[in-house]
Structure formats: structure tokens, C-alpha cells
Symmetry: C2
Subunit: 376 residues, 2 copies
């Protein structure tokens, strides 16, 4: 690490922001509007994904430099799960506006608290194993961010996954850190199986874990190049946040904000402009995108085990793969059902297969239109 400069040590200016948004509809009926993915325990650890994210970040920064951005309706649940979170760091949105607005608002608030603030954004609903490797990667990313770069943390692929985006890395940046930092050449969307194989064979590709670390002002200025009005609104909202007219400003501006992912407003244009660097990390990471992912996590990748999630779950099965998620203590009996996904909740029973687990999202979309919305 570099020596302390005139400003406080970079890590001491880091605030970790946890955007806690998406419902995770591919995990329905376990995930619901009022029980979004980040509030669920998908690993059987006893902690929700949000709480696990907090636990992972708490050794890096103190509670007053942790911030959660979430929907208004989840405010109480988040506060209950994170009692250490100072209430001024629990930022709520009146309606979801995707990641540019959520992370941008956090950046605008932090920029006002400290013009040199560094923001690290970490999803509330991913699973990471290898906390020391994670901390090391964050520390390295913060150094790069302090130098004015927008840093991301990419994960060395363990297999040619088709469910994640990839980061194409270029030149090593020994000027920023002795190890593991590279220019980002390009962000690429989820590949098909052949492309994924090719990425791994070619080398230089990392999984995009959606983590961004940058000075708050750098992040906002970059975003402003793509979405100037959005950033102007966010800075106006932040400026009035604690004032009497704050609520009024939010009510006026927030509903007008565009819904757009930060990948498009910051990551991709910054990469194209040579302002994006990537820290290559070796920890285990999964975005737990569907029940097949949950099964793989629970069995630690062993495809020959049936995964079971649920404190009272009772399963009688001849299956050598698949997953049973149960919120009750009734018996789930499986005969001849390899690779099945059974999710047994109080009001919905879902049965599908690991290979069709992604299609739960379409089912949920259809239910929004055709009825059954009260079950979502």
C-alpha cells in the first residue's frame, strides 16, 4: 500500500454502499416483493445475504461508513437485520430507479460529507467465500480509486459460466498496485457456452461481479457525461437531503429519474475512455441467480448431492441431484426426480428442474399480467 498522503489514508475515506434493490424473481416463490432475495438466507448459514454482505464489509470499514440504499417498504426489515447501521446511512428510495440512481444518490450524499470520499458499491445479494481475499481486493481497488480511476473487482473464472458477464482485461497496471490490477478493455454480456469456453482458453477474462470502487465525485462526473440531468437531480436531492424541503425535492425529482443500470452510465463508457481498471481476485463468488445456483452453493458444486434448504425441511428422496427448499416441516418425498427443484412455501409450491430454473422469471412475468400478482 502507498504511504499516507495529505488527505487521510484512502481506506479511511472509503464508504461501502450496499444497494439492496432487486426482488430476484428467478428465486420466486422464495423471493417475494416483501421478501426480496437480499433478505433471504440462501446458504443455510442463518444469515440473510444482506447480513452476510454486512459481515463481510464490517472488518473493512466501521458502521458509520457503511450505507444501504433500499426501497422504502424494506426499510424496517433492513434496520432489523442491521441494527448497527446508523439511521442516517439507511437511504430509502420511494420507488426503484435501477442502479445508476441508487448508487449515484449514495455518491452524491458522500461527496457532500467529504469531497474526497471514496465509494465502494457491493451488491446485497451475492455470495462470497474467502473474506481475506475479498478484503485484499477491496484494499487494492481503493488505492486505484484514490488515484482517480474507477475500479471494479473481477473474479478469476472457475468454469466457463454462461450466467455471468465477463470483463476483458488489458495491460497490467503496476503503477497503481504491485499485483492484480489491469486496464479494463471491455465489459462483455453473458456469453453462450462456446464463447465462455473461448474466453477461458484465451485468458484475460474475469467474471463481472458488479462491484465498483471510485471517488464519489469521479463516479458522478463520469455518470454525468452519459446522463447529465440524472446527476444534476441526484446532486440536488443530496444537497437538500437533511433540510426541511428535502422531502419535497425528493418527491419532485425522484419519480422523474431514468431507470438505467450503472453498467451503461459508468462502467462501459469509463472502460472505453481508459478510466476503468480491474482488480483480479480469487475468492469464490456467485450472484445466486436461480435455484440451480442455490443448489450448487449448498452442495459446494457437487452435482451428486441433493441440496436441502430450510430449518425444518424433511426430505425422503432417491435423487442424486437437485434441490428442495422448504419453509415448513412437512415431508417432501421424491421418487425418480433427479435434478428437480422443489420450493415449498406456505402459499405456493414450485416444481421445476435445474436446467429450467432460469425460466421461473418468465413465469413471474406472466403472473404479473394474467393474475396471481398477490403471490409475487
Amino acid at each position: 500500500m502507498s504511504e499516507p498522503s495529505a488527505t487521510p489514508h484512502a481506506l479511511e475515506r472509503l464508504t461501502c454502499v450496499i444497494p439492496a434493490g432487486g426482488v430476484g424473481s428467478r428465486l420466486w416463490p422464495l423471493s417475494r416483493a416483501n421478501a426480496p432475495k437480499f433478505l433471504l438466507d440462501l446458504t443455510g448459514s442463518g444469515d440473510s445475504l444482506l447480513r452476510a454482505t454486512w459481515n463481510r464489509l464490517a472488518p473493512i470499514v466501521p458502521p458509520e461508513r457503511l450505507m444501504v440504499v433500499t426501497g422504502r417498504s424494506h426499510r424496517d426489515s433492513v434496520a432489523a437485520q442491521l441494527p448497527e447501521l446508523p439511521c442516517e446511512n439507511l437511504v430509502t428510495e420511494s420507488e426503484p430507479k435501477d442502479s445508476s440512481a441508487a448508487i449515484g444518490l449514495a455518491a452524491a450524499l458522500l461527496e457532500l460529507r467529504d469531497p474526497d470520499a471514496i465509494l465502494g458499491s457491493f451488491a446485497a445479494d451475492h455470495v462470497i467465500r474467502g473474506d481475506i481475499l475479498f478484503q485484499r481486493a477491496v484494499t487494492t481497488a481503493v488505492q486505484a480509486a484514490d488515484q482517480g480511476y474507477i475500479a471494479t473487482i473481477g473474479i478469476h473464472p472457475s468454469h466457463p459460466a454462461t450466467g455471468f458477464g465477463y470483463i476483458s482485461c488489458g495491460q497490467a497496471r503496476g503503477d497503481l498496485a504491485p499485483f492484480d490490477v489491469y486496464d479494463v478493455t471491455e465489459f462483455v454480456e453473458k456469453p453462450d457456452a462456446a464463447e465462455a469456453e473461448a474466453y477461458l482458453a484465451r485468458g484475460g477474462y474475469l467474471w463481472n461481479a458488479g462491484m465498483f470502487i471510485a471517488r464519489a465525485s469521479v463516479l458522478l462526473d463520469q455518470m454525468a457525461l452519459a446522463e447529465p440531468e440524472l446527476v444534476a437531480s441526484l446532486r440536488e436531492i443530496a444537497a437538500s437531503w437533511d433540510s426541511k424541503r428535502g422531502a419535497q425535492v425528493r418527491e419532485r425529482l425522484w419519480p422523474m429519474l431514468p431507470k438505467i443500470a450503472i453498467d451503461y452510465t459508468v462502467a462501459e463508457p469509463a472502460a472505453a475512455a481508459g478510466k476503468m481498471v480491474c482488480v483480479a481476485a480469487h475468492f469464490d463468488w456467485d450472484d445466486v441467480g436461480d435455484f440451480a445456483s442455490v443448489a450448487n452453493l449448498l452442495t459446494r458444486g457437487r452435482g451428486t448431492d441433493l441440496a436441502v434448504l430450510g430449518d425444518g425441511a424433511q426430505v425422503l428422496s432417491d435423487a442424486s441431484s437437485g434441490i428442495v427448499v422448504s419453509e415448513s416441516d412437512r415431508l417432501v418425498a421424491l421418487v425418480g426426480m433427479d435434478d428437480v427443484v422443489v420450493v415449498d412455501t406456505a402459499d405456493v409450491l414450485l416444481v421445476t428442474t435445474k436446467s429450467r430454473a432460469q425460466d421461473v422469471k418468465q413465469l413471474v412475468s406472466r403472473m404479473k399480467v394474467t393474475g396471481g400478482g398477490h403471490l409475487l
Copy 2:
């Protein structure tokens, strides 16, 4: 039909006996020790299989000539479903002793009431469609029974089923009835697919629906050739049935009776001895042996429909086959699950496939040994 003889018209001496025994473990967890198959509505008609059996027989004989033999623990349920059944015709067993004892006891009781009594035995848990054809077949069988034969009713196969036994028919017996009566050459056990195809190609084979019609005394005398002590015990039990010492005799003798199917004590030896005839019938018949059968019944054999059973069942599915049985009103959502069997009860959820539906029996057997018996 033949002209009335010295004894009353044969049909007027017919008592229809409904042995209501087996649990139907391949239909677990819908069927349970305290909710055996015959008490279930498996057709969505609103009637249990037992009640439907009664409704089918009631146009043939009056209530005083209908008799049910069932386990002591099912007495109240049977009485509730069949309020017309005279209480002296509700015969209970202290423990199950298979069909020779159950039907033999009925025969012994009827023989005492009327030495010329004719007994027709019809399973409580089969499904029949085509009541007029059924009545016609019974009437024909009763004529043969009146002549001293043991008659069965065989069903013209609609397809090469492997789940049923077959009856090999010989010579037409125009001397007994103008149509449809044949000597029985042999009873054959459930064949494999190739054998079943061969039976249908060769012709002369009918499905064995387990119906027996004979004079009560003829049936007992035939059974006595194979199991003399059994029949002696049954006749002793029957003789004391209504007397003060009846309970004592039953308690002494019933537990000693051998468990043996009537196929072995009556049907097969009678066929070998040339005393068995078969009425060939064209009604739809199914023993509803497993959930695949239930699915076929509900969709009337259309393999392109998902079958749903349960008053409140709510199903959202892209499946073009299979069956959902639900005892609740919660949503059952299926994604990519053709040919699945889902049985959703208060304390057990079963998931299997139509092709593995038979194996539910083994699961139940295993549970008896390894635990979970309270769920059976």
C-alpha cells in the same frame, strides 16, 4: 334370461358384497391408513370410489342385499358414506385377512340367510364407466352362477395394459347364456409389454377385474378344497355371528385365519377344474392402481392434458401431461415438468413421474421400516 324356476328368480337371490380393504399404498400420500383408497374421490366426481361402487350396484339390488366387509377402524367412515346400508350388512374385520377370508365370511353369512343365495363380489376401489353394460354383465354372470358355476366378469382390453392380470378364455358357453359367456382356461398374472401385445394380437384374453359371482355355498365349497380349515372357521364364525357368544368365537378364530387372496383359493383352482366361466364385457374399467392411472382417468386417456384433482387446486403449468393432486388451495406452479406427479397434502408433498408412479409402493414399504410410519 331363463324363465323363473322353482326358486326365486336368480337376480332376487343376489347379494352384492363389497370388500373394502386395501389402503392402496401406491396412492400415498393421498391414501393413508385412515384414508384408504376406497374412501377417496379419485375421479373428481364428488363421490368416493366406495360410494360410486354402491351407486353402480344400487340399481341391481336393494340395500338389504348389499353388504360391505371392511376393517373395524373404517366402520364409521363407511356407514357415513353409505347411510342406506342396513347395519347388519356392515361386516367388520378385527384385522385384515385378505380376500379369501373377507369374501368367504360374507358367503358364509349369506349361505345361512338363504341356502340358494348368490354372492357377487365387487371391489370397493375400482372405477367403472358404462353402468348399463355393467348391469347387463352382472345379470349374465348371475345366470351362470345360478347354474352352479363360479363366474367372473372380464373386460375387453382397450390397450395392451401391463398393470392388470388377464383371463384366457376358451369355449363359448351358449348353453349358459346366448352371448358373452366363455370357459375360463387360465388366469395369467400381469404380463410384460411384449406378452400383453401378444395377448391382444392372439385374441381371447380379457382383463381380470377381480369380480366373482357364484352361489355362496358353491364358492365356499370350492374354497374348502384348497383351505378346509379356513372355510370351517368362517362357517363357525357365521353360525354364531348374531349370538351372544359371537364376539368370543370371532376373537378366537379370526386372528388364526390365513391371509390369502381368493384368486388362489377359488379362481385358479376352479378354472383348472372347469368350474369357472367368464362374462366378456365392454364397459370401461380401471383399478386405479397408481397416480398414472388417476391421471389417465381424469383426462380420459388424453396424454396431452395435465390432470388436476382437488376442489381448491390452483395450478399454473406449461406441462402437457402429468397430474397435480392438491388438498389445499395454494398455487402449484410447474415449469418444464411434463409427466410429473405432484401430490400436495397437509403433511406430505410427493413429487414423482408417471413412469415411476408404481414405485411409490416401495417408498411406503421403506418408510414402514425406516421411520415416518405416522405419515402412512
